[in-house]
């Protein structure tokens, strides 16, 4: 069983923080198939958040096929994320390192690199969202 926590200053909505924490726990192998997620009642009693926020996060995880709700029993992990994408990390990291080296050679300092990554990331995320709509 994992325990959720919320970062009030992150600017990320509680709903997304819950989803990210489950995904993170799945990637790190803290949660594996068959494990139970905390009940809605437990989560709200601990974090003092709206019950619908937890339900919404669990529904989203269910939609992604990561968990399944068993009515009257609880929500259980149905898939593990630990090995699937890890294999791709190495190659992606090498490419990213090469890109970072190029950016430095071009004269970008750390803040400029961060800003460029963040704006590009946001722009492409927004473009994908638009396509999805």
């Amino acid at each position: 069983m994992i325990e959720f926590h919320l970062d009030g200053r992150s600017g990320v909505s509680p709903y997304l923080q819950l989803i990210q924490q489950v995904r993170q726990a799945l990637r790190l192998g803290l949660l594996t198939e068959g494990d139970q997620l905390p009940t809605v009642k437990d989560v709200v009693a601990r974090l003092a958040i709206n019950p619908n926020t937890v339900l919404k996060a669990y529904r989203e995880l269910e939609y992604e096929g990561l968990v399944a709700a068993r009515p009257g029993v609880g929500t259980f992990v149905t898939k593990t994320l630990a090995d699937e994408s890890l294999a791709a990390h190495g190659e992606l990291r090498t490419e990213l390192e090469a890109w970072l080296a190029r950016a430095r050679r071009a004269g970008l300092d750390e803040e400029s690199i961060e800003a460029l990554i963040l704006t590009t990331f946001r722009a492409t995320t927004r473009a994908t969202t638009k396509e999805a709509i």
């Binding site: 600017g11 009642k41 709200v44 003092a48 019950p51």
Partner: protein
């Protein structure tokens, strides 16, 4: 039941003073609704109308499909904790439970005793000797043990210290899940309600300025930063809530249903607190005449 509270053109006057003006609301069931606004905005008046402690000057209000306090059944279905956490100082915690059992037809005695235990109240303690946090927990326990369908809480949280506030909200959210309660809670501190509410009503100077699903409201409002612009030349479907300008840059809070596609604008999301504050400053800056027009439009 899909709506817990429905009001149409609800108004209340105290002599010449208008405490609530033309309030039209429809709060869905199964939600935790937050009623926010500055002190003196009319929040307590609205809640007192909802529980039947006040009668409207004009307009209508229905709670759980019936007129507030119109029958013993109606009274039993609505729980209310007033602003000053009303308890009897001379009675013990156990006396309060006995009183609750005598006065409420649907009283859950086991539930009340269990809650007293879990929140750490001593049944023999006199209520007058309880701390603010303990008083609030006793009042909440009494309101929950009456087994209402709809629980209304007036400014309870603001007077508590941070730990007591958190414990109170934890208990409230747990009860909302366990007993499938709909909740309406008022506060002048938005930060307290930011995480617990999924429906928001902003009441400023006796009028409802904003009401709706929190997610919907947060998606509809966008904080835009870009090169200095002329506000009158913006797209017609952008409702500008606030605007500030430097000689080169403009920062706008707009309400719009369409996506902001112009790459000149950096688009950011807004928090519930910033949203409420923006509406409060807008209300403070708008002359009374314009405000009436806007409500009519």
């Amino acid at each position: 039941m899909t709506v817990v509270l429905e009001s149409r053109a609800l108004s209340k006057r105290y002599g010449r003073r208008r405490a609530l003006i033309d309030c039209t609301l429809s709060i869905p069931a199964g939600r935790v609704a937050g009623l926010v606004g500055p002190n003196g905005a009319g929040k307590t008046t609205l809640l007192n109308l909802a529980v039947g402690l006040l009668a409207p000057t004009s307009g209508t209000i229905e709670v759980l499909g019936g007129q507030p306090a119109s029958s013993p059944e109606q009274l039993a279905r609505v729980g209310f904790v007033a602003q000053d956490t009303p308890i009897c100082a001379g009675l013990t915690v156990a006396d309060h439970l006995k009183l609750g059992a005598k006065m409420n037809p649907r009283w859950g005695d086991g539930l009340a005793r269990r809650r007293i235990g879990t929140v750490g109240l001593d049944p023999r303690q006199r209520a007058g000797k309880l701390s603010g946090g303990q008083r609030a927990r006793l009042a909440l326990t009494l309101a929950i043990a009456k087994r209402p369908e709809f629980l209304i809480l007036d400014e309870l949280v603001a007077s508590l210290d941070p730990l007591a506030r958190r414990q109170f909200l934890q208990g409230l959210m747990e009860a909302a899940v366990e007993h499938e309660l709909s909740v309406l809670i008022s506060s002048h501190l938005v930060a307290d309600l930011e995480r617990v509410c999924d429906y928001l009503i902003v009441l400023i100077e006796s009028r409802v300025q904003l009401a709706g699903d929190v997610d919907g409201l947060l998606t509809a409002h966008r904080l835009l930063t870009g090169p200095r612009c002329d506000v009158s030349a913006l797209p017609a479907d952008w409702q500008v809530i606030s605007a500030s300008h430097t000689d080169r840059q403009s920062t706008l809070l707009v309400r719009t249903t369409s996506l902001v596609t112009d790459p000149g604008w950096a688009v950011d999301q807004i928090s519930m607190e910033d949203l409420v504050l923006a509406y409060m400053s807008k209300a403070a800056m708008t002359p009374e005449v314009n405000r009436t027009l806007e409500v009519q439009r």
